[in-house]
């Protein structure tokens, strides 16, 4: 399925790529996806990639307004069409993304996990508390039942994971969840979801959860792990 909109997190903020289709449909999809994860993205800068779509000042302003409502700021528009450049300039938006960004295409390549930014959180999350971040999250402490971590990248819990963890939350199925004690309520990677076995158990070693063969697999941390 070709997505209408792709949203990727980088250390410089979000890159939203508009795919093919009518402006209203594409922007509607963008708004829906962003609103569904609003707390995730709030406060972030957004660079828009539009490929060879011709964008007008009105259209850019519409998008800018949607983003502002969700607590984000549009700072750049990357497109091939000259009209897009003109419109962007008029709204005082940057037209060149940083050189480290991949070449412009209508559909963007995923930002590799190795290049994603990460944060370290040094406390235990109690029931009702959450950490949402578009990159990797390392937590030194426990995640109690009723608490959650939602990350665009990997999730590492240096402690007991007893609540919920969702890695690769923006669609990255390569993300992993690691914990010293993997006793989660529920884990998700990308669009996959898994819950622990019905019988109560206590894990004896650190474990890693990853997607293999279309499902989430939890493995013990072995010495030979590279």
């Amino acid at each position: 399925m070709t997505e209408l909109v792709t949203i990727r997190g980088t250390s410089e903020g979000l890159i939203i790529t508009l795919g093919p289709g009518s402006f209203d449909t594409v922007v509607g999809d963008m708004e829906e996806r962003l609103a569904a994860r609003a707390s995730f993205f709030r406060g972030g800068r957004v660079a828009l990639r539009v490929g060879d779509r011709s964008m007008s000042v009105d259209q850019l302003q519409t998008i800018g307004a949607i983003l502002e409502r969700l607590g984000m700021t549009l700072w750049a528009v990357d497109g091939d069409h000259p009209a897009t450049h003109v419109a962007a300039r008029e709204l005082e938006l940057e037209v060149d993304l940083r050189p480290s960004a991949p070449p412009t295409t209508a559909t963007s390549e995923p930002i590799p996990l190795e290049e994603m930014a990460g944060i370290v959180v040094r406390r235990t999350l109690r029931s009702g508390q959450a950490v949402h971040y578009p990159g990797h999250v390392t937590l030194i402490g426990d995640v109690n039942p009723g608490a959650e971590i939602v990350a665009g990248g990997d999730i590492i819990v240096w402690g007991r994971l007893r609540g919920n963890a969702h890695a690769g939350a923006m669609g990255d199925e390569q993300a992993v969840i690691c914990a010293l004690q993997m006793q989660p309520n529920q884990i998700r990677i990308g669009s996959h979801i898994a819950r622990p076995p019905d019988r109560a158990w206590r894990p004896k070693t650190p474990e890693k959860a990853s997607v293999q063969d279309g499902g989430i697999v939890v493995e013990r941390w072995k010495k030979s792990e590279s």
Binding site: T124, R126, S127, G128, Q129, D142, P145, G146
Partner: protein
Amino acid sequence: MRATVVTITSGKGGVGKTTITANLSVALAMLGQRVIAIDTDIGLRNLDVVMGLENRIVYDLVDVVEGRCRLRQALIRDKRLSELFLLPAAQTRDKSAVNPEQMVRLCDQLRPEFDYVMIDSPAGIEQGYRNAVAPSDRVLIITTPEVSAVRDADRIVGLVEAGEKGPPKLIINRLNPAMVRREQMLSTADVVEILAIDLIGVVPEDPAVIVSTNRGSPVALDGRSPSGQAFRNIAGRLMGKDIPIMPIKESANVLERLSRLVRG
């Protein structure tokens, strides 16, 4: 006298906040302290019933806050202990009738007159909880050894810690040692492992509590009941006394473990 204001809360309903507030208040008064218990569960008041003082209510917390009476007029002296008082909640209003600032001002008025102000919080994390916690110097969190109660208690611990009220202390209520031995109930260690706050007491399951609640005679007055003893111990610890927690036999002995293995 500068009172210590103690709020008893839990998140979860029905775990014993009102019973514990009543009993700790009684136990502190038995230790010679001048105590006032305040019910902030406006609309669902119970502290008056548990203390057996419901027929003596003329004015309540909302009357005081709305200026229909002086604070002194709303205080009810306990029928057994002369240094114990109750400020009941209103039954015909709801928790929006009082706000946290009013609770702080009220407690400031009471501080010079008492050693302890014991505030019974309603269940939940909304206005009622905020009203109860606003004036507190110390917070006691009540939980039963049940997964759902512990989940709610954890949420409250998070809120108390975020509200900069100092570390709360934990009371585990209604522990049934036989069920813990049969691994049908969480143990004290299980609960403390998740909540990770200091334990100030464990109250065992005791049928005498239900009898005492219905009769309006708190069980802390009863010299024989195990729960009464636990409440008196907690009151002592609250006052800074070093009272070791009663060992409640929670691990199975050899025979019990063997029979469990055989049953499989």
